[in-house]
């Protein structure tokens, strides 16, 4: 909590009259009543400042480091932040970035969607039918432990360098996290709940629909979130190897055309896209597992 105190002091000395509330909390003689009112808000602001501190420092380093610390030759390969942002701005202005982004998002969304549907369906079957599990599990283990990118040449050879191969490899990479989590989710349903439902005379199908599936949803969503991250990861790599559009292509193409700021602009877009996707999936996950919030504190 050192950062907020510092900023408060600064604020108080800068504008002692206008910002009376903040100023007073900074003074030791401030009334308890007032400080207790103001403190939660101040604390939150402080926490935000503290939490974004590392990012701000990193961006500052990026901006100032190449200008003042690096040699001229390095500066070419590591342009300061403002140049990258300018490049990003012009890419947006020319509409190029939007095209690449759209291409990438379409591919990863399609592959991801296919993976989720297929993996949830197969996961439910595998978790429900033990014999199917015993039959498929060894093969699934082999595939799961084969890095998706190692198969990229195979996908390219068989499906060409068009959309099909890229969507397929994204689907492949996203498939396994969802599959494994679906299986785990179904397997770890509280047996007591199954007993309770059985004592009501529920049929297998109803049991599945009303007890097993809803209780597995949070675990499935964890898998979906993992799949979201890896689908973007794999797609960028695939686009780097062979594509005519997409963020991966933008990065590699900028590099080989010596448009270094453009390259960094592409990288920046990739990380922002990843953050956004993760944020969205976390929000969806939270929406579907609201009831789970206090499982840990249950007095069982």
């Amino acid at each position: 909590m050192t950062a907020p105190t510092l900023t408060k002091d600064a604020a108080a000395s800068a504008a002692p009259v206008a910002d009376a509330d903040v100023g007073r909390t900074a003074q030791p003689a401030a009334t308890r009543h007032l400080s207790s009112l103001v403190r939660p808000g101040v604390r939150r602001v402080g926490r935000v400042i503290w939490a974004s501190g590392a990012i701000v420092l990193f961006l500052l380093l990026w901006e100032l480091g190449p200008t003042y610390l690096a040699s001229a030759s390095t500066r070419v390969f590591l342009p300061p932040l403002h140049e990258v942002l300018r490049a990003l701005g012009s890419l947006i202005a020319k509409g190029q970035l939007q095209n690449h982004l759209a291409a990438s998002v379409t591919r990863s969304a399609s592959g991801f969607g296919i993976a989720v549907v297929a993996a949830v369906a197969l996961g439910l079957l595998v978790a429900w039918y033990r014999s199917l599990d015993r039959f498929l599990n060894p093969l699934l283990e082999v595939f799961r432990n084969t890095a998706a990118l190692a198969l990229l040449p195979v996908f390219t050879l068989l499906l060409g360098i068009g959309e099909t191969s890229k969507i397929s490899i994204v689907a492949y990479a996203a498939f396994f996290p969802v599959l494994l989590n679906t299986i785990a989710g179904v397997r770890t349903v509280d047996p007591l709940l199954i007993r309770a439902a059985r004592s009501l005379g529920l049929s297998n199908f109803r049991l599945f629909q009303k007890v097993i599936l809803p209780s597995a949803v949070p675990t499935i969503f964890t898998g979906i979130r993992m799949a979201g991250t890896s689908s973007i990861l794999v797609l960028i790599a695939a686009e780097m190897v062979g594509a005519k559009a997409g963020l991966g292509y933008l990065i590699v193409n900028a590099q080989s055309s010596f448009l270094i700021p453009d390259m960094y602009a592409g990288i920046l877009t990739v990380s922002l896209l990843g953050l956004l996707v993760n944020y969205l999936l976390v929000a969806v996950e939270r929406r579907f597992s609201r009831w789970r919030t206090a499982v840990g504190s249950q007095s069982n």
Binding site: L192, L193, R195, S199, L200, G201, R206, S215, W291, A294
Partner: protein
Amino acid sequence: MTRGTGPTPKISLRNVGKQFTVRPSKDQPEGTTLTALEGITLDVAAGEFITLVGPSGSGKTTLLDLLAGLTGPDTGQVLVDGKEVTGPGRDRAVVFQQYALFPWRTAAANVAFGLEGPGSDGRRLGRKERADKARHYLELVGLSGFEDRYPHELSGGMKQRVAIARSLAYEPDVLLMDEPFAALDAQTREQLQEELLRIWRSTGKTIIFITHGIDEAVYLGQRVAVLSSRPGRLKQIVDIDLGERSGDGDIRSDAVFVEHRHKVWSLLHDEVRKAQEAGHAKIRPDGSAPDEAPQLSQGRAA
């Protein structure tokens, strides 16, 4: 032993026995059988409140599973209304110690759980009817206004109230309760015991209540059935007559209560000691008992 002298008893156990095959372990490569219950014969009249006490591992829960139809007996018969139990049915409801509420459903949705799907008369209830019934039964257990709470937002006592409302909601004749108040604190437990008696009087359900609290057994039951240590046999049935309960007085300090309590205590005491010496522990739903294997390995080491 037969108290229900009327036509057919509501529930009738005829020489019921149940064995489990203990899965082969390192110590016992061929596996063994574990006799949980042996020769249980018991009649319960309609509308009766009977409590079941017994030491750990005496097969209380197994007996309840048999009544619920979750498992079948190896010997003898389990009859409800004179008909053999072949599986779970909506004429019987189970209340578990750990509440077994569905955490993704609100209190009202939990209560309505048993109302979804075709009822005993084959009719399906509409959404509105289900909600009305859920509200009604939550009110009956004293939880009006908590319809939209999730289980994790409720205290242990409230959770158990929801669980009781859920099992009452689809209107079974028989309530099977497996140590329902064991996980609650003493005050909540007493409160819920009183409410259960009130619900029992107002609904006229037949209740079979498993507990290992002697006080609880004597306080609630019209009869207390004492089970022996494993294999569980019916040791004795104690009739409890506490007279007319006004509900105001402290019935537990009443001389008659103390006398009954002592009687059950002495019956149980020997059995608990026996069970402890044998190191009996709870029989798990899959039929294994954690005490069996280690006991043998200890014998080997000695």
